[in-house]
Point group: C2
Chain length 372, copies 2
């Protein structure tokens, strides 16, 4: 446990402009070749796995009885326990999910954090079903051999309708290329009963060397693993990326007492990025949150942080929200927009963790849930 | 949303000795008869439901298409989406669960909070399957008619083994009588692959009037609904209840900056009791938590609290833990015991929320998960 204990207190300076790097696909840091060179013996051990990824079977469980996790080593098409299927010519993962009692807030609708957790879960189960999952948090065998991990640089989620406690949903996820060295992952959340789309998500991921903490190009062996899964389909079309402005300390709303808890750390020994969203929303006024529903969030991740940091969360409504009369404008169907930032308060300078833009609409006036 | 907004900021003084009341089954507050008397017209509307609870069918979905939740009105034996079954002569609920990526900590084992969430989820799904679920957080139709809700007074959880990410488990839950006016709910968590029991839980529940905030006797119509589900089987036999001593402000470990977040509220508009456990453990030293695993927790709930309270969490090891040499004693297989308290810091006096006792053992020295 020594390793985990050390990383627990370290802030990882990943990049101050991950998103820009990915979008322009320029100036990625040099691949750490000494690290790659040293892993050739490990490569041999798993070479059979890499070559078998397209082999189809629904029964490999007997091979893996010796492990409790039972991670498949070849592609699966059905997982009855996870209620997962591989569909759409063998590339999209679909999971049936039921909204659980602890995933909803006081109004019985799923919280944004619950939705983001389900997106993460299906993304990992997609890799799980692929037979590519190595010894990491969604890392493939090839990534494990190269000491690489996934880091998210950008995420956008559009929430048209919020699922309610007990509602049955279908959550689809698939991947595509993002430039030469990144990956796009999309999601669509639908009502099982009606097929109506409740939410659409898209995200951009890059690889980071776990030891040097630098971004990495995608090695050819990883490209060989994952590119057969890439499709062009995009659930949200982003023509030009809106750059999120940096909020200053004079932002209208601020919460400064946020401190990561031990239970906020995930398998990568970092504060999980879903927790950041909860902190962003903590800086919103209670009255506004009671009366409004988030319909769109864009997150630009800048830097990971460890559990010893004290986090400040700032929010500011757009000027054209007519803040003096928010209730009226939102009643009239006008969308309200906010800019957000999470940062650590340093002695010399503040360090940005994530910037965000959110869009809100007025909540339904009663909680008789409409049919979708 | 007005009602939720008010309750959001109110601390509910339920009882300073709920557990004692239940165990001795004495001196429960008077039933609010004016409330019961006023609900006779509502009673008639749902009378058919009460009489049909033992009717068996697996297909009532067509009747409920108009609702998104699709809560059954008659008993179900199978729920394919929740992966739930009613077994053991029709009284025990069994759900297959897979430990999700966000339910585990950095060591890839499920967190205590995740386990407690799954216990809550299966308890509610048990009521869901029974056809008894009314318009509340596990409340039956009869409880809804009487403005009653469940409150937990005591919970004990024994963790023999912690499940790991991706592990498939069977979680059983059933209920029994606890005195004349209370209910006991037990759980057993097993490995699906081997059948080995990982955890056992038991809890005691009483009814509270939602409007008067006083404890209530169990009305006869509620007894008629739930007593057909009662069995005597107990997963943990408690001969004599150990009384948990009250920790003073001089306790060895303390964390004072705990503040409920908006997202900590559940469907009852309270801070969910599972969150309390997270706060209790926040006051434990990091090094101890890294090296030890909780094997037993007993919680005595005293009082609910709202989101405007600032919470203090205190912990103290037992004297005979030989605190000067904890590592040695725990390496020798000795169990370490702690006493805990969560309280609000008031200007005049502190208000107890929960007392707890925990037992710990040394963690396995490496993270190669053993087979169970």
């Amino acid at each position: 446990m020594a390793a985990s204990f050390v990383s627990y207190h370290v802030c990882y300076n990943t990049s101050y402009s991950i998103a820009k790097h990915i979008v322009s696909n320029l100036k990625l840091p040099k691949l750490d070749r000494s690290r790659n060179g040293s892993t050739s013996s490990v490569t041999k051990i798993n070479a059979a796995t890499v070559s078998s990824i397209t082999q189809v079977t629904t029964d490999v469980h007997t091979k893996k009885e010796q492990t409790r996790q039972n991670i498949p080593t070849i592609k699966q098409f059905v997982d009855p326990h996870r209620q997962g299927l591989i569909i759409d010519n063998g590339v999209t993962y679909r999971q049936t999910v039921v909204i659980r009692s602890y995933e909803v807030g006081p109004d019985k609708t799923a919280t944004l954090e619950s939705i983001l957790n389900l997106l993460q879960e299906t993304a990992l189960n997609h890799v799980w079903m692929s037979g590519l999952l190595g010894d990491g948090f969604g890392a493939t065998h090839g990534m494990t051999r190269n000491n690489l991990m996934w880091v998210v640089s950008r995420m956008q989620l559009q929430m048209d309708h919020y699922p309610i406690w007990g509602e049955v949903l279908k959550l689809d996820t698939w991947v595509g290329a993002s430039g030469k060295h990144g990956m796009r992952r999309d999601w669509e959340l639908r009502s099982q009963a009606t097929g109506v789309v409740f939410a659409r998500g898209t995200s951009t991921w890059v690889m980071m060397n776990q030891k040097t903490r630098r971004l990495s190009k995608m090695p050819d062996e990883v490209k060989a693993e994952i590119s057969p899964w890439f499709i062009d389909k995009q659930t949200i079309t982003v023509d030009t990326l809106e750059k999120i402005k940096k909020l200053g300390d004079t932002a209208k709303y601020a919460t400064s007492s946020l401190k990561p808890k031990r239970s906020d750390l995930d398998m990568n020994h970092h504060v999980n990025n879903v927790k950041y969203v909860g902190w962003l929303l903590e800086a919103m006024p209670d009255k506004f949150m009671d009366e409004h529903q988030l319909t769109d969030i864009i997150l630009e991740y800048r830097r990971e942080c460890g559990s010893s940091d004290i986090i400040q969360s700032l929010s500011e409504p757009d000027e054209d929200n007519r803040t003096s009369n928010e209730s009226l404008s939102s009643l009239n169907g006008m969308q309200l927009k906010y800019t957000h930032i999470l940062q650590t308060k340093g002695e010399v300078r503040n360090e940005e963790i994530v910037r965000a833009r959110t869009t809100w609409r007025k909540k339904h006036s009663n909680m008789q849930f409409p049919m979708y």
